[in-house]
Symmetry: C2
Subunit: 595 residues, 2 copies
C-alpha cells in the first residue's frame, strides 16, 4: 500500500510542513540548545539547557525533540529528496551517534547532569520514552529510505533497555509511556521478537505501583490499575493515549483479545465523556490530565496538541485492529480541528494548548499560554506535528485480501499490488469524493469508503447507479475495470450543534460545524461596536456558508446570525474554521456560542 | 475595643477551633516533621521534610505553618488559659528560639538544606514570607498575653531583613508577599518606624522585574507592574491579596491616597469580575491564579481556602481605611461560605480547594484534591483557618470618636471605653439582631449597624420606633441610655440567584441563597433513583427553608423543587449550606443548578 497526497488541503499542509515547519524546527533545535545537549553528552563543552526553573525542575526529555524531528525528516526524504534537509538531518544523526555510549545508552540529561547513571529515576526520567522516539525515527529512516544509521543506534539503545529490564531483569516502567509501541514496531521492522516481549512485559508491569504516587497520584502515569483492568482513561492524557497505543500494538501481535477489549472500553468512554468537539482531549492544566466525565471547559481546555496527535495514533491502531469506521471519524475530527489548530497558517508558530474559548479581555498569561509561540522550552508538540503531517498519507487507506478501504479523503494516488486508484476531492470544503480505478486485477474486490458520522445525507454512485448510504462504511464489491469511477457525495450543510446535556460548561450554547470542520468566531470578525462576549446566536435566521479568501484560498467560512443587547436584529458574525484561529494576534475567540 | 463572642454560630466555631482544630494542628506539626525541621536548624539530627518530589521541588515555607499555629494559640490563650495548649506552644516557641541564629536569621530550609546562606533565592525562597508570619505570631502573643518571647525572636528576624534590605541596602523583594503587612503591624506594636519604612520600600520595589518571569510569568508574583499602577489583580491569588493587605496598611500609616486608591480599584474589579458566589477567589489550578474576567468555572474552581482568608484580611483593612459597608458584606460572604467550607464540621479535616461543583462520577484525583484531608504536605490552609477563627471577634466591630460600628453579627459582648453593648442573635439562621446598651456615657454617640446587601427588606427599631432601612449602614445617633435596645430585622427569604451573564461556566443555572448562606445540593440528599447530574431546578414551585438537624443543630436547609427526565414533577432536593459540603464522604455536589 502506497499513498501519495497530490493536491488540495492536505497536500498544501504537507508542503508547508516540508518547506517551512521542519526547517524552522531544525533552527529551533539549534537555538534552544537541544542539539548542543547531545553534543555535550558526546563530550563537548557547553551549558546544558534543561530549562530548569529555580525550584530545580529540569526537563529530562529534550532529546526526544531531536528524534521526533528526525522521524519527520525521514518520512519527507522518503517522499522526495531535499539536499538541505538531508544535510541538516545528517548533522543531527551524527550528533546522536556521537552521544551514544559504547554500552548503547544515550540520554543527554543523564549523561551530562545525572552523573551518567542510567535508570535512577524511572518516574520522571523519561529515559525509555526517549528511546521510544529514537526507535520511531530509526524505523522511519529505514522504512522510507533504507538508511539504517538511526535504526542501528536505536537498536543498541533498545538492547540496553532490554538487558536491564527484559524478562528476568529488573521490574520497572517509565513514568511516560511511549516505548511500548516503538518496541512493537521494532519487532515488525527487524523481525526480532524480544522487543515485542519487552513491550508486553512493560505493559504487564504497569499498574502495580512501581512508580509511586508522587505529587499527582499514581493515576497520573496510569500506574494505579493494571492496563487490562482500568475501565476508564485517567491521569496525564498523552501518557494514557501513548500507553494505549502500545497496548493495541501488543494485543494485535499477541492476539490478546482481553487487552484489546480493555483499550476499546477506555476509548469508547473517552469519546463519550471526555472529548471536546474539536477532538481535543485532556481538560486540566495542572497535571495535563483528563478531567472527570463531562468536565470539558471551553476556556480552560488544556487539549494539548500532543494529546490530539496521540488520539489520532490510537484511533488509527484501533481502526487497523477492528476495521470500524468510527475510528476514522475520530481521526478526521481530531486532524481537521484539534491537531491542526496547533500549527499556525504560516507554519512556524504553534499552540501547545487548544482552548475552545479565549476571552477578548484577558489578564496576564504565563509564558507559553495564550498566544501562538515559535517554540517552547517544553517543545514536545511542534516536532510531533511535523512527524504526523510527514506521515499523514499513511493514515488515508488500508488494503487487505478483500480490497481497499479509504478512511480519509484527500486528492491522492493509491497503489497496492495490482490495484491503482486515484482520489479527487475538494474536501473538506466540498463533499464530493471521486475515486477512479486506474489499474486492477480481474477478480472481484471491495472498495470500502467511510461515510462520516456527521453526514446526514450521502449517496454513492458506482457503475450500477446511485444509492443513498448511511454513515459508517459503504462497501462496493464487484469485478472492477480500469476506468470505473465511484463518486461519494456527502451533503455538507452548515450544522448547528448542541452540546451533550451533561457538559456543564457549555450549557445553553451551540456550535457551528460544516462537514468535518468545527467553526469559531473571532472578535476580529465581528461587526463594529460589538463585543464577542455580548453576542448570542439568533436561532430565527439561517447560518450561511461563505468563501473566506482573507483567511486562505478555498477556505469556507460561515456567517452566523447573532443578536446583542442594544443592537438591531441583523447582526452576523463571520465564523472561521477553528484550526485557523489565533493567526491574527490577540483576538477573542469562541466555539460555543450562547443561544 | 474588646469583643467576646459568647454564643451561637460563631461561638460554636471558635470552641471547635480551640478544642479540636488547634490541638489537631499541633499533632500534625509533629507528625509531618515541620517542628523537627526547626529542631534540625538548631542542630538536631534528623531527616529534613521538605516534601520534595523527584523533580526536586521542595517546599521552602513550612516554618510558616508553625508560626501560624502559634499565632492562633496566642489569641486563644489571650481569651482564656489552657494548660495543654500553653505547654504545646511553649514547646514550639522553644524550638523556634533554639533555631534562630545569633545574627537573628531563622529559616529551617535555608539553614538545613541551603548551606545556611540566606536570601540566595528570593523568588522561591519565602524567607521574608516566613518572617512575616513569625512577626504576626509574636504580635499575637504580645498583644493578647503580654508575652514577648516570640516578639523578640520576630524583631531580631525582622532586624536581620532590615539590615540587608532596608533603605540603602540591597534591592530585593520576596516571591511571596506577606511580610509587608506584618512589618506595619510591628511598627504599630513597637512604635519603631523603620519596619514601616521597610514595608513601604518593599512595596515600591515590586513591579520592577526583580523576581524574573520564571515559569509562570512576572504577574504570578505581582512583579509585572508597580503596586500603585496595576489596574487589576493578577497572578497567584494569595500573593496578590497579601500584597494588597500590606499596601493598605502602608497607605493608611503614610496617608498615601494613591496607593489606597490603587488597591480599591483592584478590589472593585476583583469583586465584579473574578469572585465566586461563595466569596472564593482564584479559579486556576495550575498557578493558583486569578483567571480572566468572568472565568469562574464551578467544577474547577481552585478557590483556595487561604485566598478566601486573605480576602477577609484585605476587606477588613479596606473597611477600616474607608468605613464602607460593602467590605463588611464581602467579609460576611467569604466567612460563611468560601472560608468555612475549608474546615470540616468535626474540625479536623480540611479543603485546600473549594469548588462549587463536584461530579458524582469522578476519576482519580491527585492527592490533596477532592476529598477532605486531615493535613497536607503544603499545609498553608489549616493553620490559616485556625488563626482567623481565633481572632474572629476582632472583625466584629470598630469604634472611633463618633461611636460604635457593628460589622458582623454574632451573639457577643462589646466593650469600648465607657460603652458596653451586648448583641443577641440567631444569625445566620434568623435575621433578628438585638443590641442592648449596657453601659454608656452621657454624650450622644452613633451606633452604626451594617444592613447586608443581600437584604431586600430590613427594619430597625430603636427607642424612637421602627423604620425601614436600605442596604449599607444604618447610623443611629442619640444620647443613649443604659437599657436601650435596638433591633435590626433582616428579612431572610430563600433567594434564587442568577449568575452574571458573562460568567460562561454557569450559564442557564441558578443558585440558592438565604441570608448570608450559599446553599448546595449534595447527591446524598437526592430522592432515590435520581442522579445529581440529571436534575434541573423547577421554577414553577417554591423553594422552602427547612430545619436540617441531621447536618447540625440549628442548621437551616432548603428544599429545592427539581425536575428530571423520567420522574414526576414532585421531586425536591435538600440543599444544605455550602460550607457544610463534603462531610459525608464522596458525594457529588453543586451550587449552580441548571434551570
Amino acid at each position: 500500500m502506497k499513498v501519495r497526497i497530490t493536491d488540495g488541503f492536505w497536500a498544501d499542509r504537507q508542503r508547508l510542513n516540508r518547506i517551512r515547519t521542519i526547517p524552522h524546527g531544525f533552527e529551533q533545535l539549534h537555538r534552544s540548545g537541544v542539539l548542543d545537549n547531545l553534543r555535550m553528552a558526546a563530550g563537548a563543552e557547553g551549558c546544558y539547557q534543561a530549562y530548569s526553573d529555580s525550584a530545580g525542575t529540569g526537563l529530562r526529555f529534550l532529546d526526544s525533540d531531536v528524534y521526533k524531528w528526525l522521524e519527520a525528516v525521514g518520512w519527507e526524504l522518503g517522499r522526495a529528496p531535499d539536499p538541505g534537509l538531508a544535510a541538516a538531518a545528517d548533522e543531527a544523526i551524527g550528533v546522536v551517534a556521537a552521544a551514544q555510549r559504547d554500552d548503547g545508552y544515550v540520554n543527554s540529561y543523564v549523561q551530562v547532569l545525572d552523573g551518567g547513571k542510567p535508570h535512577q529515576n524511572l518516574a520522571w526520567g523519561h529515559e525509555f520514552y526517549c528511546v521510544g522516539h529514537l526507535i520511531q525515527a530509526g524505523i522511519a529512516w529505514h522504512r522510507a529510505l533504507g538508511d539504517d544509521r538511526l535504526l542501528s543506534i536505536a537498536r543498541r539503545a533498545a538492547d540496553r533497555v532490554h538487558v536491564e529490564f527484559g524478562p528476568g531483569g529488573r521490574d520497572g516502567v517509565d513514568g511516560h509511556p511511549g516505548i511500548e509501541m516503538a518496541l512493537v514496531e521494532l519487532t515488525r521492522e527487524t523481525g526480532e521478537r524480544r522487543y515485542l516481549d519487552l513491550a508486553a512485559r512493560l505493559l504487564d508491569l504497569r499498574g502495580r505501583g512501581l512508580l509511586g504516587a508522587e505529587r499527582f497520584g499514581a493515576a497520573y502515569w496510569q500506574d494505579h490499575e493494571p492496563v487490562r483492568q482500568a475501565a476508564t482513561v485517567a491521569g496525564h492524557a498523552v501518557r494514557q493515549l501513548y500507553l494505549d497505543c502500545g497496548a493495541v500494538d501488543v494485543a494485535v501481535e499477541l492476539g490478546d483479545a482481553t487487552l484489546l477489549a480493555a483499550v476499546r472500553r477506555r476509548w469508547d468512554d473517552l469519546i463519550r465523556t471526555r472529548t471536546y468537539l474539536t477532538g481535543g482531549m485532556g481538560s486540566r492544566h495542572r497535571d495535563e490530565a483528563f478531567g472527570d466525565p463531562f468536565e470539558l471547559p471551553p476556556d480552560r481546555a488544556y487539549a494539548e496538541t500532543c494529546a490530539a496527535i496521540a488520539s489520532v495514533m490510537l484511533a488509527w491502531r484501533l481502526l487497523r485492529a477492528t476495521g470500524e469506521a468510527s475510528y476514522g471519524d475520530a481521526i478526521e475530527r481530531a486532524m481537521f480541528n484539534g491537531v491542526l489548530s496547533g500549527l499556525s497558517l504560516a507554519g512556524t508558530a504553534f499552540h501547545y494548548t487548544n482552548p475552545l474559548q479565549r476571552r477578548t479581555s484577558r489578564t496576564y498569561e504565563p509564558p507559553g499560554y495564550g498566544e501562538r509561540a515559535s517554540w517552547y522550552p517544553c517543545a514536545c508538540c511542534p516536532p510531533n506535528l511535523m512527524r504526523l503531517l510527514s506521515s499523514w498519507e499513511q493514515y488515508q487507506a488500508t488494503s487487505d485480501g478483500a480490497g481497499v478501504r479509504i478512511h480519509q479523503y484527500a486528492t491522492s494516488d493509491i497503489e497496492t499490488g495490482d490495484i491503482g486508484l486515484s482520489v479527487r476531492t475538494d474536501y473538506p470544503w466540498r463533499g464530493r469524493v471521486t475515486v477512479h480505478i486506474g489499474r486492477t486485477h480481474d477478480e472481484p474486490w471491495t472498495l470500502a469508503l467511510r461515510v462520516p458520522v456527521w453526514c446526514r445525507s450521502a449517496t454513492v454512485t458506482d457503475p450500477d447507479g446511485t444509492r443513498v448510504v448511511d454513515p459508517g462504511a459503504v462497501a462496493l464489491t464487484r469485478r472492477w475495470r480500469p476506468g470505473d469511477t465511484v463518486v461519494l457525495d456527502l451533503d455538507m450543510p452548515v450544522r448547528i450543534t448542541e452540546p451533550a446535556p451533561r457538559v456543564d460548561a457549555v450549557r445553553g450554547c451551540v456550535a457551528v460545524e460544516r462537514g468535518p470542520i468545527v467553526y469559531c468566531v473571532e472578535s476580529d470578525d465581528l461587526p463594529l461596536a460589538t463585543e464577542l462576549e455580548e453576542l448570542s446566536w439568533d436561532s430565527g435566521r439561517q447560518a450561511v456558508a461563505v468563501p473566506r479568501p482573507d483567511v486562505g484560498a478555498d477556505i469556507v467560512g460561515v456567517r452566523v446570525p447573532m443578536t446583542a443587547p442594544g443592537h438591531g436584529d441583523h447582526l452576523t458574525a463571520g465564523a472561521i474554521p477553528y484550526y485557523a484561529w489565533g493567526n491574527r494576534g490577540v483576538s477573542g475567540m469562541r466555539v460555543w456560542i450562547p443561544r
